[in-house]
Symmetry: C2
Subunit: 109 residues, 2 copies
DNA sequence: ATAGAAGTTCGATCTCTGTCAAATAAGACA
DNA sequence: TGTCTTATTTGACAGAGATCGAACTTCTAT
């Protein structure tokens, strides 16, 4: 059905996530690269998984997406065969103030 | 020789350390507990290794101290048979602004 | 000199996790 | 229906890292 897909983003409940989970999710070079590319998107823009360039195979990338999703770092939106990912900037910053920014700054290229 | 030991703290050059190293050093529950106990010390106070309580054996604790030291998180001072550890708060915050604080906040008990 | 205290290092497990290839699931489209 | 695209899942594997006990080093003290 060609229905609306009205911003139907799915994400885990950040209230249930503890800091160590997020910290460990962010402590991997590949995942950090994913986050960085999504952070590069303006505001609430999202990207299809396949459009994010990482130096691993598709299955490995999918594995990293799952970890980031379960850690509450990413939100998912499905459209057709693609799944669009979005960085949960604001929510993350409310729950863990300053964490994402300082991590991105510390590991900046 | 009973000489002065005038604040002879040893630590790696933080300029040579990259963010991922620090991030991974902080991404372990035991090490984070070490850091937290050292952060509890007022200002530049230090503690002997053995006085920091962690749920692992002495050798494992020593391993974690080494990782934290090599990541530039801790500085070491030797006195007698003891080795005093100090958290490099200010230096760390200058090199990686906000990182330590946000990590400690995010993983607070 | 002998013993004790504080840490480190070594060697051996054991678990975790990042990785890939192949198989699978689901949607789009001819 | 069949095929292509997109992404996930499964199974296997390898490397990294956390852990422990035992041996070793160094300083202190008796």
């Amino acid at each position: 059905m060609g229905h609306a897909t009205l911003e139907t983003f799915g994400g885990v409940d950040l209230g249930e996530i503890d800091g160590m989970t997020v910290l460990q999710a962010l402590s991997d070079p590949v995942r950090l690269e994913i986050v960085r590319q999504l952070a590069g998107c303006t505001g609430s823009t999202d990207m299809p998984c396949g459009q994010i360039e990482v130096p691993v195979t598709k299955s490995t990338a999918s594995h990293h997406f799952k970890i980031l999703y379960l850690a509450g770092v990413l939100a998912k939106r499905e459209q057709g065969t693609s799944k669009y990912m979005r960085l949960r900037r604001d929510e993350l910053d409310e729950r863990f103030p300053g964490l994402l920014d300082s991590v991105l700054r510390a590991t900046a290229v």
